[in-house]
Subunit: 476 residues, 2 copies
Amino acid sequence: MSVLQELSQNVKSIKPLEYEILARRLKMIRKELRQGERKPYKEVLDVSFGDLHMSGLKPLSFVRQVLAACLYPQLIKSSTFPVDVKQRAQRLLRECAGGSVGSYTATAGIHEIVQRISEFITRRDGGVPCSPENIFISPGSQWSIGNILKILLNSEASPRTGVITPVPNHSTTNSSIMSLGGVVVPYYLNEEQGWQLQVEELQRALDSAKGQCNPIALFVTNPGNPAGQVQSRKSMQDVIRFVSEKRLFLLADEVYQDLLYENSEFVSYKRVLAEMGPPLSDTVELASFHSASKGFIAECGLRGGYVELVNVDPTVMKHIHTMFSTDTCAPVLGQLALDLMINPPQPGDPSYPLYHKEVEHIRTALIHNAKRVREVLNSLPGFSCQPVEGGSFVFPRLFLPAKAIQQAEEMGMKPDTFYCMRLLEEAGVLVLPGSEYGQKEGTHHIRFCIMSPQETMEEVLRRITSFHTQFMRDLS
Amino acid sequence: MSVLQELSQNVKSIKPLEYEILARRLKMIRKELRQGERKPYKEVLDVSFGDLHMSGLKPLSFVRQVLAACLYPQLIKSSTFPVDVKQRAQRLLRECAGGSVGSYTATAGIHEIVQRISEFITRRDGGVPCSPENIFISPGSQWSIGNILKILLNSEASPRTGVITPVPNHSTTNSSIMSLGGVVVPYYLNEEQGWQLQVEELQRALDSAKGQCNPIALFVTNPGNPAGQVQSRKSMQDVIRFVSEKRLFLLADEVYQDLLYENSEFVSYKRVLAEMGPPLSDTVELASFHSASKGFIAECGLRGGYVELVNVDPTVMKHIHTMFSTDTCAPVLGQLALDLMINPPQPGDPSYPLYHKEVEHIRTALIHNAKRVREVLNSLPGFSCQPVEGGSFVFPRLFLPAKAIQQAEEMGMKPDTFYCMRLLEEAGVLVLPGSEYGQKEGTHHIRFCIMSPQETMEEVLRRITSFHTQFMRDLS
């Protein structure tokens, strides 16, 4: 008998993801293809993940050159790299203990980088001040979110502590809340209105929690993942008034702030809050998350993110400092990547022309993909796709015929997982089911990533079109 | 009023570290020196941390060359690096999604690296089989320990769950246990016997928990941190029999397995367990931790470690898989560093001569430092230092005069912190107080790191000698 048989309830509440079922099949299909098995496609296109480099888009040369020079400083002496790359590497190495990226750093991050992040935020927000004391670098934004949730969620409280979270939402945040003993209180984004957040719905969610749990925070993602909406200033003002009135902590996942399409504009919650003036600007407690895994830099594998805290009570800040300081530091190269993301080459720098060209190449691909995905899907019967205004995902609605739902049930699968599995099997495209992210009862969706070269996205859309047409014909 | 005023008890139980008080003063002294203030030293020597590169020892060229080439693959085409470096980089890039270290990997780590870790363990343990299914790569070993503790500790259990942990111990593990709602049950290593672990003491610790908590696991570090002892096979066999009899999960921190002095030998708990044969070898549940932050590679900043699980119940393993899979992957360069650590260049490889020379340079310095520290400290009245058999720290005992203890009390400081503060202030050497790691009531220690160039350690010892002599003269 195992000494571990009495597992913590919180750990047991973590459910395996639908994704894993599909990922396992993907692995097998790839193996079958390698073994020469005949299929209607030569390779599988995996657009399930928000991973620019995996999709075939290239890393930014400037970023990689600086990091390579930091790892192997002899490169600074050689003629391999442009002079601004070498200077950046030299400066960053001076800021590392012992001049090595292999040393530990302060647990909140390298001081100088934290300082420059605060300057970046001030610039971005049109001069709203930002103190480095309120910034903590971490191995990615999900990790920061988890750490702030640890502070917010009291696993011993009765009733339990709740967090009001959007539907749809990326699944990791909900898992974190549950594994820490918190309760997920869902609010629905309005799909028909382009996935906008509506305050009446927040109120309904809050009311629904009565007698169930004690909601202490509201979680928003802007630009949205997976729904791709970008919030208007007006909507953000409504949210800020709501959290102030209901005394909720505001958690703002803003990692997609650089990825904008359809003329949409990103404004940070911090900025909107400052613009609203006192008493709101002095009282609403806010945590804003950003990451080097997203945007044009897209260095997911380096693991660097940060959180900025606003208006948090000083005694609580002390606990947060202590909690972060018991952790080891974030990976140094992830920290350096953050610095390169917020301070890219400027016009006149030797690296600027190539940097600019590479970013524009990615931007053009994403704008193209965001537009084409919507055009193509909306031309297919049984699909309805809202505009993709920002971020890296699209979350189209799928109107499945009754026969498809019945077949899925017979196979013990959720209808949207059934659709994804068939799409993978028959067309060699991996997308993920809406049930993984939450959706209104009775509706179905798929989620996929638009961060890929245009040709790849065109091929994905061709395969979806052909599969979907056949699927609807067979099962209608 | 803050919405966070009701902080989770577990978070509040995390105390700020003594280290922070000293670190703050260190920062100020460095600033004062920069501003030209006159002190008896020109720079502070910080030997408080186990950080090879910070101390001035150099990173291994082979490791850095491969990683730089992986970051910026154009380097593979150039003539900058030896051919085996390029081949390693090419192979590793093939194993990264999209051929980029910027992509996410499987959450347990890149499959091929996990596979090679299992082969390394099998080699190391003289053929004892190891399955890749039981290995999880993480951002450092502390993170793995935290994740396994999350599984072990049931924060809702009554009585609470306990973990039997050594005194002295590195402070992060104890913080993790407490922050997860567990109870630390201390057992004392026997200083007079070279910090050996004694089973009678484990029994005493277990008895002491009665009525307090339900001990579910035993934590050991071998080679020891901070005490520097290396366990004998016999002692490990005793421990294995003890955990089997008492049905405890065995947590073995083995991150210092490559750093051995004084003819000591490292044998893994997994190997000893296998040698003991059934029923023990089939039943004792073990987690063993290793890291790329230690050893000769010492890439703390890259954040790569792993845990191997042995004999864990399959249903529990499923939960562990699920829990690890809700996290994002470990930093890719940390994962690659692990691979380079366990598969260094071999004789005949173009990189071997330089690699060998660099490793031997570090090894010579550490062997010298381990020996010299003991010689010098034991020659000083009021110091007693056990042999440093392994690891990167020394934990000498300090016999403080009554006057020193009284002065410390008057200043509201722990006596050993008082000593460390005076040493920092007057001699410009940062070491940490034993109270940070736990010590027998009424005894005092300091901890410092021996991973530094020989000249640095000699200078540290000169400064300690001179300070200590004066300190004892003044306060005796």
